[in-house]
């Protein structure tokens, strides 16, 4: 019996993506090491200066998340790149909105896992002292929703193009600039690095996430039909 509800279909797609990801272990073997590598590279670039690194922890952390997110999005659509798979997905009778929700959820969940690992990374490499756990957790949960939604939208736009590797970051990163600002500020506030109201930045991230979830649910239909 095929589940016809949006939620059920989305869960189906998310489950499928996560299973594929789990079996291929590309995420484990490439994206996680890449994210950690970004942290290490920053340490090299900033002279391994503990004080500087500690001060810039929030910014460097979210840049690492953002770059890894671009990789994850590319992964999520490389899975569908085989000729036939996209058609099968399109003809499966799944609602486009459900495909969007499912793919975005899968990416968001992977990002959350990645964030936890990166948090350990900044504690180890940058001697960051994590604090303000409530705000940290809230930011860590809502930012990936916005990143994954925008990423899924642009992912399907560029999927199947020969130049997707270069085009996706060009399109996606300017759009994610507000997330970078918001998440960095919120995390900085949680760590006590900057004296700003972190929760208002959390609200901003939530608005961003809502806007892009809504856009994705609406725009995915016409996008899936054609590309």
């Amino acid at each position: 019996m095929v589940d016809t509800s949006l939620f059920g279909q989305a869960r189906l797609v998310a489950g499928k993506d996560l299973r594929v990801e789990w079996r291929s272990r590309v995420g484990m073997a490439q994206v996680v090491p890449f994210a950690v590598l970004v942290l290490v590279i920053f340490a090299f670039a900033l002279d391994g200066n503990r004080q500087t690194l500690q001060q810039l922890t929030a910014g460097l952390y979210w840049i690492a998340v953002l770059f890894s997110a671009v990789m994850l999005v590319q992964r999520a659509f490389a899975v569908e790149a085989d000729p036939g798979v996209r058609e099968a997905l399109r003809l499966s009778g799944l609602q486009p909105a459900a495909v969007f929700a499912g793919k975005a959820t899968a990416i968001a969940l992977q990002l959350v896992v990645l964030e936890v690992l990166l948090a350990i990374g900044v504690v180890v490499f940058f001697t960051a002292e994590l604090d303000g756990w409530g705000l940290l957790a809230a930011t860590g949960l809502v930012a990936p929703v916005g990143i994954a939604s925008a990423g899924t939208l642009y992912g399907v736009l560029t999927a199947g193009l020969r130049v997707k590797e270069t085009l996706l970051p060009l399109l996606l990163l300017p759009v994610l600039a507000p997330v970078l600002i918001g998440a960095t500020r919120a995390m900085g506030a949680a760590l006590g690095d900057v004296a700003v109201d972190g929760w208002s930045w959390f609200n901003f991230l939530a608005i961003f996430a809502l806007v892009y979830v809504a856009l994705g649910l609406v725009a995915f239909g016409p996008l899936m039909e054609e590309s």
Partner: protein, 251 residues
């Protein structure tokens, strides 16, 4: 048009009149902006940069708005005409946006002391807007079926436009929520006298004329490109068909 080698252009009577008006306007603008208009009390002579910076920025916003409107019509009415308008406006918009940023930086250096001021929300969001539409142009360049290309780029343009308030808001908030002493006043509120105000208004008119001329030509080029594509596709198809017939006849 009888001779094949006669000069053919994207010009027409209307555009030639437009070009003449724009050229006349440019001459007057140079005289007004660089010679006749007075120096400002606080800004000094530097206020003259306003007459190229402000109209460039205005036309960047106008172009991108036109792209957004065109994109909405593409998705709503499946209009190919609007797709070409959107594409043409976007390219010219990127041009003017780049000029606005460039002249802004040139202006910022002597007034703020830096080429770039991250505290200015308008400047930073204009930069993001510029990058978004550079991406739009990049995705347009990818060869694709015209309707696929139209839909795809329309969605990119509309997402880009939806994104503007988010960027503007976040940048504004980013700086105002944590501001050390305001070293540089980014507010520029000059007391414009009448001739300065007129020159500014005149510069916007002249730049808009130039914009109109560019847009018409760019649109005609976009239209011609599609014609050429279809024409050469037709030729290729004919050849393919002939080949198939030859092969079919031989066996």
């Amino acid at each position: 048009m009888t001779k094949a080698d006669a000069v053919t252009t994207t010009g027409s009577r209307a555009t030639r009149i437009l070009a003449a008006l724009a050229a006349l306007g440019v001459v007057w603008l140079v005289l007004l902006g660089l010679v006749f208009s007075p120096a400002d009390q606080t800004q000094g002579e530097l206020v003259r940069l306003m007459y190229v910076h402000v109209p460039s920025a205005w036309l960047a916003y106008l172009s991108f708005s036109l792209t957004a409107v065109g994109s909405a019509f593409v998705l709503w009415k499946k209009s190919q005409w609007w797709d070409l308008v959107a594409a043409s406006a976007a390219e010219i918009g990127v041009l003017f946006c780049g000029l606005a940023l460039l002249t802004g930086m040139i202006w910022g250096r002597p007034t703020w002391g830096t080429y770039w001021e991250w505290g200015d929300a308008r400047l930073v969001s204009t930069l993001v807007l510029f990058l978004v539409f550079v991406g739009y142009l990049a995705i347009r360049r990818i060869p694709a079926d015209p309707t696929v290309r139209a839909n795809r780029s329309a969605i990119v343009a509309l997402i880009g436009v939806v994104n503007i308030p988010l960027v503007h808001f976040s940048v504004k908030w980013w700086r105002t929520l944590h501001q050390e002493a305001t070293v540089l006043s980014t507010d520029f509120d000059p007391k414009l006298d009448d001739l300065m105000l007129f020159t500014l208004f005149f510069s916007v008119v002249v730049f808009t004329l130039v914009f109109a001329w560019l847009l018409v030509h760019r649109f005609r080029i976009a239209w011609l490109e599609d014609q050429v594509d279809m024409h050469s596709l037709g030729i290729a198809l004919d050849e393919r068909r002939r080949e198939a017939e030859l092969v079919g006849g031989g066996s």
